[in-house]
C-alpha cells in the first residue's frame, strides 16, 4: 500500500512541479509524504505545522489542481503533522466526536459490499420533506424487525432513498456484530437469479438470500414485469419476514403504482411502513450544500450557496454535482466566483431545471387527458361534476405550480374571476385531506407534469 501511495505522490509531484517555483517545491513539497487516499480525500504527512500553514495559505490551488489532474477529480486535502507540535489539531476539527465515532463504525461495516461509507445517518440532511422517512429508517436501524417491517421508501430521483437504505445497513452492521447485511439493487437480484437458473445452483442462491439478517433492496420497481424473479423474491421475502428479519425496500413510486407487480407482492410491500421522500425545500437545500461543502472542505461565499439552493430544486444529486463543479472550477482556475460565472458554469443544469417550469396550458392538457375530458371543457362554462372537478384540480395545480396570480389563472380558465379560482383551491385542498385517492391522483399528475 505504501508503495502505491508513494507512486501516487510522485505523479502528483510531477503535475505540481511546473506550477510552483523550484525553490518552493524543494522547500515545501519535497518532505511531504502521501499516507492515504480515498475517493474524496487525500491525506498528506508533513514534518510540522508550518508546512501545513504555508501550503494551505499559498499553494493550495496549485496542489489541488495537481491532485485533481492525477486523481481525475478534486479531492479534499488533509494534513497530518509528523511532530504534532500544536498538540491540538483535534480542536480545530469542527466535527463533533460523536460523528467521528460513527464514521469509524461506518468504516468497520464497510465489509458489506455495495455500501458506501459516506452514506450514514450523520451525513443525511433532515428537512420537512424527508423527516418521516428519516425517522422511520432510524427506528428500523435501532430496532430491526421490531418496528416497521418491511420498510418501503419511495421518492423521485436523487432524493436520498439509497442514502437512507445504506445508512440503515451501516448503522446495523456497525453496532451488532455478526449481522449479515445484504444490500443490493433489484437488478442485481434479477441477474443473480438468472445466473442461478443457468448454472443450476438455485439452492445456493436461495440460501444466500434467505440467511440474511437484514435485506436491503434498492430500486425494487425494476422487478415490475419479471414474473419468475417476482416469485423468487416473494418466497425470499416470506422466509425472511417469518424469521423476523428486517427488510427494507426502495422504489421511485408507491408500490401500488409499480407496473406489472403481482398483487401479493404489492400487499406485502404495503404491510409495514411506507415513507415518502419529497424534493427538499430551499432551507434544506441550503443545509445540504453547507454540509457537503464542509465534508469536502470547500469554502464558498454565502451568495453562491444561495444561488445554487434557489436555482436547483428537484434533485439533491444534481445539487451536489453543481457544488462540485463550482468548487473545482474555483480551485482549478483560482478565479473569484460571481453569480454570472456560476450561471455560465452551470448553464446546462440550470436549463434542465428551467424546463420544469410548468405552464397553465400544460396543466390543463394533462388534467384533461387524465380525466378523459375535452381540453375545451377546461375553459367552457359547462359545469357538471365530472367536468367541474377536474377543472378545479387544474386551477389548484396552476396555483401551486406556476407563479400566475388568481386573476391570471381565472382568465386562462375561460375568464372566470379570482374568487372562483380561490374557491377551487380551497375545495381541492379540503378533498385532498379527506380522500386519499384524490391526493394520490393529484400528486401523480403533479409529478407527471414535473417530469
Amino acid at each position: 500500500m505504501d508503495e502505491k501511495y508513494a507512486q501516487l505522490w510522485t505523479k502528483i509531484s510531477v503535475a505540481l512541479k511546473p506550477q510552483v517555483s523550484v525553490d518552493t517545491f524543494k522547500r515545501w513539497f519535497s518532505a511531504v509524504k502521501l499516507t492515504n487516499a480515498t475517493a474524496d480525500e487525500v491525506t498528506l504527512l508533513v514534518p510540522n505545522n508550518i508546512y501545513q500553514f504555508w501550503i494551505e495559505s499559498n499553494h493550495m490551488p496549485a496542489l489541488q489542481a495537481a491532485i485533481a489532474s492525477v486523481c481525475n477529480g478534486p479531492r479534499a486535502v488533509k494534513f497530518i503533522c509528523a511532530v504534532d507540535t500544536s498538540g491540538g489539531s483535534d480542536a480545530a476539527d469542527p466535527e463533533p466526536p460523536l460523528s467521528a465515532k460513527a464514521q469509524a463504525a461506518a468504516a468497520r461495516s464497510n465489509t458489506t459490499p455495495g455500501l458506501n461509507a459516506r452514506n450514514t445517518f450523520e451525513s443525511f440532511v433532515v428537512g420537512p420533506n424527508n423527516e418521516i422517512a428519516h425517522a422511520a429508517s432510524l427506528a428500523v436501524a435501532q430496532s430491526p424487525a421490531k418496528t416497521y417491517n418491511p420498510l418501503f421508501i419511495y421518492g423521485g430521483v436523487g432524493l436520498g432513498k439509497t442514502h437512507l437504505m445504506q445508512a440503515i445497513g451501516q448503522y446495523i452492521g456497525a453496532r451488532t456484530k455478526n449481522t449479515r447485511v445484504m444490500y443490493l439493487s433489484s437488478e442485481l437480484f434479477i441477474n443473480e437469479f438468472i445466473d442461478a437458473i443457468q448454472h443450476n445452483n438455485l439452492v445456493k442462491f436461495r440460501k444466500r438470500y434467505r440467511q440474511a439478517d437484514l435485506l436491503l433492496i434498492d430500486d425494487i420497481h425494476f422487478l415490475g414485469g419479471k414474473e419468475r424473479s417476482q416469485e423468487e423474491f416473494f418466497h425470499t421475502f416470506n422466509t425472511l419476514f417469518d424469521g423476523h428479519k428486517q427488510i427494507v425496500l426502495s422504489s421511485d413510486r408507491p408500490a401500488s403504482e409499480i407496473a406489472n407487480l403481482e398483487h401479493r407482492l404489492v400487499s406485502r410491500f404495503e404491510w409495514g411502513l411506507t415513507a415518502e421522500l419529497q424534493p427538499p425545500d430551499v432551507e434544506t437545500r441550503m443545509a445540504i450544500l453547507r454540509k457537503k461543502a464542509r465534508t469536502l472542505k470547500i469554502k464558498l461565499r454565502d451568495e453562491i450557496f444561495e444561488f445554487l439552493a434557489n436555482r436547483i430544486k428537484t434533485n439533491v444529486r444534481r445539487l451536489e454535482g453543481a457544488l462540485m463543479r463550482v468548487a473545482s472550477f474555483a480551485s482549478l482556475s483560482g478565479k473569484e466566483l460571481t453569480n454570472d460565472v456560476v450561471e455560465h458554469l452551470l448553464k446546462d443544469i440550470l436549463q434542465e431545471e428551467a424546463r420544469r417550469a410548468v405552464t397553465i396550458d400544460q396543466i390543463q392538457r394533462r388534467v384533461a387527458e387524465h380525466f378523459d375530458v375535452r381540453l375545451a371543457d377546461m375553459t367552457s362554462k359547462r359545469r357538471p361534476a365530472n367536468i367541474a372537478f377536474p377543472r378545479q384540480i387544474a386551477m389548484y395545480l396552476a396555483r401551486e405550480l406556476t407563479k400566475a396570480s388568481l386573476n391570471e389563472i381565472g382568465e386562462a380558465f375561460g375568464g372566470r374571476d379570482h374568487g372562483t379560482v380561490l374557491h377551487a383551491c380551497k375545495l381541492v385542498k379540503k378533498r385532498m385531506k379527506e380522500q386519499d385517492k384524490i391526493r394520490q391522483t393529484i400528486s401523480f399528475i403533479d409529478s407527471a407534469l414535473q417530469r
Binding site: S21, I50, F53
Partner: protein
C-alpha cells in the same frame, strides 16, 4: 474606603485599564474594575481572565480598602465630570458616592472578594527590556498576526529568548514579520513563548519611549511590569511553527526604495486593485518599477518609480495590503526589497535586523 483624586490622573489610569474589560462577559464581576486604596496609592485592576492590567496613581487616601465598580460606567461618568477634584466614598455595601463640584453620583459595585486575583510571579526569571525597543519591535511585527482562529498558535507574537537575543515573530501563513532585539540574560532564561494578540495590542498601548519593562515568564503566563502599570497575560499553549523554514535562501535581485515614496505610490495604485483579485503588480525594468493595478470593467492605474535596478526584467504581484502593512509600520527612510523570481516570496529588509517575507500572488496571464 475614602479618597480624593484629580480627574486627570484617574481618567488617565482608567483609560489604560478599561480596554481589557470585555463587553460580552459571562461573569458580571469581569465588567468591573477593582479599586484598591493603600497608603497614598490607588490601584485599578481589570481582567478578562486571559489578560489583566493594573495601573496605579497617587491620591489622598483618607481610609484604605477595596471594592469593584462597573468599569465602563465609571469611565463615562469621570469623563463628564466638570471639576478637577473628585472625591470617592465607598460604604460597606460597595456603593460608591462620587462627588465633584456640584455633581453627585452614587453607583453600586460588587464586593472585592469576587474579583479574580492576578496571578503571582516568581521573581527569579526576569528579563529587562527597554520599553522603546519592545514597542518598536511589536509595532513592526504585530500586524502580521493571523486572525484565523483555527490556527490558534499563530494568534499571537512569538517571543523567542535565545542567544542573548529576543526574536519577535508574527505570521499568518501568507507573510511573516520577524525582528531581533539584543538583550542580555542568562542561559536559564531561554524560552519560546507565544503572547496572544489581545495582550500584544494592550501592551503596545501601555509601552512608552522611556524606561524599562521587566518581563517575567511563569508557567503558561507572562507579566510585563512597566513600573506604574502591570500587564499579565495567559500564553498561547503549543509550539510556534518553525518560522525559519519560510525565510527564502539566496536572493537574486535587490532594490533600494524610499519607504514613504513607495508606500504612497502603492496606496494610490491600490485604489484600482479589484476587491476580488486584490493584487498589485510590480514590473521591474532597467532603473524603473512600474506599479500597476486593474479591475476589469472599472479601470486601471499605473505609476512609475525610478530606482536603481540592473537585474532582469520581470513582473511580480502582491496583495497590496500585505505589501503596505510593513511600510506603514516601519520608521526607516530606506528599505530593501529582495526578490528571486515571480513565484518566490519577496523579502523586505532594513538596516537593522528585521525581515518581512511576503508570498507573491499568481499573475494571471
Amino acid at each position: 474606603m475614602k479618597f480624593s483624586v484629580t480627574k486627570e490622573k484617574l481618567l488617565e489610569c482608567l483609560q489604560q485599564v478599561q480596554n481589557v474589560v470585555s463587553t460580552r462577559t459571562t461573569l458580571p464581576i469581569l465588567s468591573n474594575v477593582l479599586l484598591h486604596a493603600n497608603g497614598n496609592k490607588i490601584s485599578l485592576t481589570t481582567t478578562d481572565l486571559d489578560v489583566g492590567v493594573r495601573g496605579s496613581f497617587e491620591a489622598e487616601v483618607e481610609k484604605g480598602g477595596a471594592t469593584t465598580l462597573p468599569a465602563r460606567r465609571l469611565f463615562t461618568i469621570i469623563r463628564e465630570l466638570p471639576a478637577t477634584e473628585i472625591s470617592f466614598d465607598i460604604d460597606g455595601k460597595n456603593a460608591a458616592s462620587i462627588r465633584s463640584g456640584q455633581s453627585f453620583f452614587k453607583i453600586l459595585g460588587l464586593p472585592e472578594e469576587e474579583f479574580p486575583p492576578l496571578p503571582k510571579f516568581d521573581e527569579s526569571k526576569v528579563v529587562t527590556i527597554r520599553q522603546k525597543d519592545l514597542r518598536d519591535g511589536l509595532r513592526k511585527t504585530s500586524y502580521a498576526i493571523s486572525t484565523d482562529e483555527t490556527r490558534y498558535v499563530l494568534n499571537g507574537v512569538l517571543f523567542s529568548f535565545k542567544d542573548n537575543k529576543l526574536t519577535l515573530v508574527a505570521t499568518d501563513g501568507r507573510r511573516l514579520a520577524m525582528l531581533d532585539i539584543d538583550l542580555e540574560f542568562p542561559r536559564s532564561h531561554e524560552a519560546d513563548i507565544i503572547v496572544p494578540t489581545k495582550a500584544v495590542t494592550e501592551l503596545q498601548r501601555l509601552l512608552t519611549d522611556e524606561g524599562d519593562v521587566r518581563v517575567s515568564v511563569g508557567s503558561g503566563q507572562i507579566a510585563f511590569d512597566l513600573n506604574d502599570t502591570l500587564l499579565v497575560s495567559k500564553l498561547i499553549e503549543g509550539n510556534y511553527p518553525n518560522y525559519k523554514q519560510v525565510i527564502p535562501g539566496e536572493m537574486k535581485e535587490r532594490v533600494t526604495l524610499e519607504r514613504e515614496t513607495f508606500l504612497n505610490s502603492l496606496r494610490r495604485v491600490s485604489l484600482l486593485a479589484s476587491d476580488k483579485s486584490n493584487s498589485i503588480k510590480l514590473n521591474f525594468s532597467k532603473n524603473n518599477i512600474d506599479i500597476t493595478a486593474n479591475t476589469p470593467e472599472v479601470g486601471e492605474a499605473k505609476e512609475s518609480l525610478p530606482v536603481t535596478y540592473k537585474g532582469r526584467e520581470f513582473s511580480i504581484a502582491f496583495n497590496p495590503e500585505f505589501l503596505m502593512a510593513p511600510l506603514r509600520n516601519l520608521a526607516e527612510d530606506e528599505i530593501f526589497l529582495d526578490l528571486i523570481d515571480e513565484m518566490s516570496p519577496g523579502v523586505i529588509k532594513i538596516q537593522s535586523p528585521f525581515l518581512y517575507v511576503l508570498m507573491p500572488m499568481r499573475i494571471s496571464s
